[in-house]
Amino acid sequence: MTFLAPWGWGLAAAIAVPLVLHLWRRRAQARVEFPAVRYLLRMEREHAREVQVQNLLLMLLRCAIIVVLAAAIARPVARAPGIGHAPTAVAIVLDNSLSAQAAGPEGPVLARLAAAARGVVGAATAADRLWVVTMDGVVVGGDRPTLDAALAAVRPLDGAGDAGDAVRRAAALVRGSGLPSGRVVVLTDAQATSWGAIDPSALGGAAADLAVVTPGAIVNRAVTAVAAEPLHWDPRGAVRATVVAPDSASWRVVVDGRTLARGTALPGATILARAQLTGTGWQAGVVELAPDELRGDDRRHFAVHVGEPPAVQVASGAGPFLAGAVGALVAGGRARVGGGITVATMDQARRPGLLFAPSDPIRVADANRALERAGIPWRLGARRTGAAPLTGEGVAGAMAREWYALESATAAGDAAARRDTVATVGGAPWAVAGDGYVLVASPATDEATDLPVRAAFVPWIDRLVSQRLVDGSTGVSTAVPGAMVRVPAGVDGLELASGPVRPVAAEEAISAPWAAGVAFWRRGATRVGALVVNAEPSESDTGRVTVDTLATRLGARTVDAAPDGLGRAVFAAGGARSWSRALLILALLLLASEWLVAGRGFGRRTPVER
C-alpha cells in the first residue's frame, strides 16, 4: 500500500483530543446548578458498568474516526485482494522496427515482443481499455480478439519508424481514456539508434512499464548504400553499393528479377558492378546479401533509367564552354547530337532546354520575353556582381562573379523558388529547374563564374541533362519508409512496388510507403521517375542502450517480458485502487455508531414516559 498524500497522517495527531477528553473527564470545569442531581447519581449507580463501557466505546470510536479520516486524507492506494484490479487504460507500444526482425536462439525478437503483448492483453478484464501502437504510428484498440488478431498481423517495418511518436500517441490514449488508472507499456529491443535520443517528455507524465527483448549476440551484414551510375543507362552502367559486414559477404545485383552480377565483398569494401540492361524506361533493382540473423537490411533497392542517350543541340551563341561540354558528353556516349534538348542562352529559350543568362545585359529583356513565350515561370531581375560562392550538388567550391536575380513569375513565389532551386548564390536561387527546363542565372563565361573551367562542369551538365531534361524525367526521389516526400511536377500517379497505382497530385506532400522497394512516378501510363524507399542505414547498427538507461530516460519502470509475469505486473501497478472513498464511508459508519452510542444509548432501554 502506498500513500499519495502521506502528510495526511499528520492529522492523526488529533487523536489526542478524545484521549485527553477521556482521561481528563473528571476534571470538567463547568459547574451547572441542577436540582435533580439525585437522578444523575442514581443513574450512575444503577448503570455504572454500562456508562463506563459506553465512555470507553465512545473514546475508541472517536479515536477510530480520527485515524480513519487521517488515513483517507493520506489517499492510500493498494490492490484489493481477491477482487481484481481497477479499470485500467493500457497502451502497448510494440517496437516493430526493422531491427526487431533479428532472430536469436529464442526466436525472432518481434515474435517475443508480440507474445509479451498478448500476455498483457490476456490479463486484462472487460472493464479495461487496451490499445496496441506500432512504430509506424498505427493504433489498434478494442476487445481481446481484436487485439490478438492485430498482434498476429503485426509485421516488421522496413525502417526504423518513429519511436517517439509511438510513445506520445500511447500516452495520449492513456490520458484521454477517462479511466482513473492508466499505463503505457513499451515493448522493444532497445536499439540505440531508435531509442538513444528519445525525448524524455514523450510520456507526458503517464506511468509506464518497459520490457526489453534482445536477440542476443548476432552477426549482421547489411547493404547501407546503393546507387546506379549513371542514373541514365544507355543501356550500360554500373551499380555502386556499400556493404557493412564483420566478414566477407556474398552479394548479387538484381534488376527486374534478373541477376546482373554477383560476387563476394570483403569487410568494408565497396561493390562496383558493371552491367548492361535490356529494355528501356525506368527499372527497379536491388543489391542483396546472403541472409543473416537480421534479414531486413540484407537488401537495398535502387532505380535506373534505360534508353538511348539524350539528343542535345547547342544553339549558336551559347558560347564555347557549353559547346565543349556537350561535345564531351557526345564523345563519351552520354549524349547524341539531335534536336531534343536545347542548350542555349535564355533569349533563345525553348523547352526542353538548359538555359544560361545572356552575357550581354542588353539582351535581358529579350530573355524574359523568350522565357514567357516558352512558358517558363521565371524572369531575370537585377544584375549582381561580386565574387560569391555557389552552393548545391555538383557546384560546391565554384564562385559566381556576375549573375542576375531569378524571380518567380508565379503566385507561388518564394515557395516555388525553394522547391525548384538546384543551386544558390548568397542564399538566392542561382540555378532552378522545372518541367522541361533548367535556368542558370550566370552567363556561361569564365568572367561570370569559374564553374565552366572546373572539372565538375561537364558532370554537372550531364546530371542536369539526364536527370532533369530527358523526355519529361522527374529523376529519382529517395525516402525512408513512411517519410514525407514531395510529388514531382507533372506527376499524377505513384506505381507502388506491389503493382497498384496510387493517384497523387503534383507538388503535394505524401507519405512514402512503409515497405522498402522502388515505386515509379507516373504521368498517365508512362513512368517518369522513381521513388526509392530504403531503411535508414542506422537500422543496421545493432548496438543497444541498457534497460536501465532507457527506463531512466523514459521515466518508466522496468518489468520482465515473460508474458504471464508482464500481465500481472502491469495491472498490479496500474490497477491499484484508491481506498480513500472506502475509508470515508467507514468514517461515516463510525460516526453513525458514535451517534448511536452517545445519543441513543448502546443497548439501552427506550425511555417510557410515565
Binding site: A30, E33, Y39, L58, A598
Partner: protein
C-alpha cells in the same frame, strides 16, 4: 373574567405566557373562570348525587360520570353533572424549598412560580365550591400556615402567605404533611405540590398516617422538562444539587436517554408508593397548561362528595 382577560381560555394557555399577563390573584381568577367555563357549569355544580345537567367530555374527567346511555344512543360523549351538596376542608401543602426556585430554560416558569399559580387557582376553585381551604408553605421548616377556612377573605390571606419568605436549603415534607393533618380536624383533603426531590421512604409513614386519619391525599409532582429529560444546554459539566450540594459530572448528550430512563423509574416508584398508600399522584411538567393538573385535582375533590 375581567375585560383584560386573555381572549382564550386561561387554563389552556402556556403557563409562562399566562403568568406574564397578570398578578397571581388575577391569573388565578382567569384560571378558575376558564376551567369552569370549560365545565359549562356554575361554581356550585359538582359531581355529587343530584343530577343537574350534561356537558361535553373534557380530558381528565372521571369516566365514572360519563353518560354511557347518551354515548350509545347519540354517539355524543357527555358527562353528567350534579348539584353540589357537601363542603370539604382542604389543605394545600406547597414546597418552597430552593430546588423549587429553578427552571431549565429562560422561557419557562420556575417550579415554584408554577406551583404557586396552581395552588392559588386550586384554592380559589375550592373556595368557590364553598369548601374550606388552607395553605402550608414549607422548605426545611414550616414557613407559612393559613388554617383552612371558607369565605371571600380566605383567598386574600392565602395570597398574602405566598409573599412570605421561603426557598430554604432543604425540604421537610414529612413535617409539613404532619402539620397539615393537625390543621384538618375532620376528614378532609391534603393537596401536596412539590418537586419530590427526596426519598419516598421519608414520607411513607406520614402519608399513611394521613390516610389512616381518613384524609384524601393528592400529590402534584412538579418537574421542569429539563429535569425529566436532561435537556440542559451544556456540554460536559459538573452538575450541582443546590439543596444538598451533591455533584455529578456528565455529558447530557451522552447520557440523556439513560437519565430519562432513570427518572422514569423514579416516577414509577413514586406512583407505586402513593398508590399503595391509597393516595393520588400526578406528575406535572412546568410547560403544561394549568388546566390539566387543575382538572385532575378538582376531579379528585369531587370524588370526596
Amino acid at each position: 373574567m375581567s375585560a383584560s382577560a386573555p381572549a382564550v381560555r386561561a387554563d389552556l394557555m402556556d403557563p409562562a405566557t399566562l403568568a406574564a399577563l397578570g398578578r397571581l390573584e388575577v391569573v388565578s381568577r382567569w384560571l378558575v373562570d376558564g376551567l369552569l367555563a370549560g365545565l359549562h357549569r356554575s361554581p356550585k355544580k359538582g359531581f355529587s348525587v343530584e343530577f343537574a345537567e350534561h356537558r361535553q367530555y373534557q380530558p381528565g374527567d372521571d369516566l365514572r360520570f360519563m353518560d354511557w346511555k347518551v354515548v350509545a344512543r347519540a354517539d355524543r360523549w357527555l358527562i353528567k353533572q350534579f348539584e353540589e351538596e357537601t363542603n370539604v376542608r382542604a389543605t394545600i401543602v406547597l414546597d418552597v424549598s430552593r430546588s423549587m426556585a429553578w427552571r431549565g430554560a429562560p422561557g419557562r416558569l420556575t417550579k415554584l412560580d408554577y406551583a404557586e399559580r396552581l395552588a392559588a387557582a386550586l384554592a380559589l376553585l375550592l373556595l368557590r365550591q364553598r369548601d374550606a381551604v388552607g395553605l402550608i408553605r414549607f422548605d426545611d421548616g414550616i414557613r407559612s400556615v393559613v388554617p383552612p377556612r371558607s369565605g371571600q377573605s380566605q383567598f386574600g390571606k392565602m395570597l398574602a402567605a405566598f409573599d412570605d419568605a421561603g426557598a430554604g436549603q432543604g425540604s421537610d415534607l414529612a413535617g409539613a404533611l404532619a402539620q397539615a393533618g393537625k390543621l384538618i380536624a375532620r376528614r378532609g383533603m391534603v393537596i401536596l405540590i412539590s418537586d419530590l426531590l427526596l426519598e419516598p421512604e421519608e414520607i411513607r409513614d406520614t402519608v399513611q398516617g394521613l390516610r389512616g386519619q381518613g384524609h384524601d391525599v393528592t400529590c402534584l409532582h412538579v418537574l421542569d422538562p429539563a429535569e425529566r429529560r436532561f435537556e440542559v444546554a451544556s456540554g460536559e459539566a459538573t452538575f450541582v444539587d443546590p439543596e444538598r450540594g451533591t455533584e455529578s459530572i456528565a455529558t447530557p448528550a451522552d447520557v440523556r436517554d439513560l437519565y430519562a430512563s432513570t427518572v422514569g423509574d423514579a416516577l414509577a416508584e413514586w406512583r407505586d408508593h402513593f398508590a399503595s398508600a391509597g393516595a393520588f399522584y400526578e406528575p406535572i411538567l412546568t410547560d403544561q397548561p394549568f388546566g390539566v393538573p387543575l382538572r385532575r385535582a378538582f376531579a379528585r375533590r369531587q370524588r370526596l362528595g
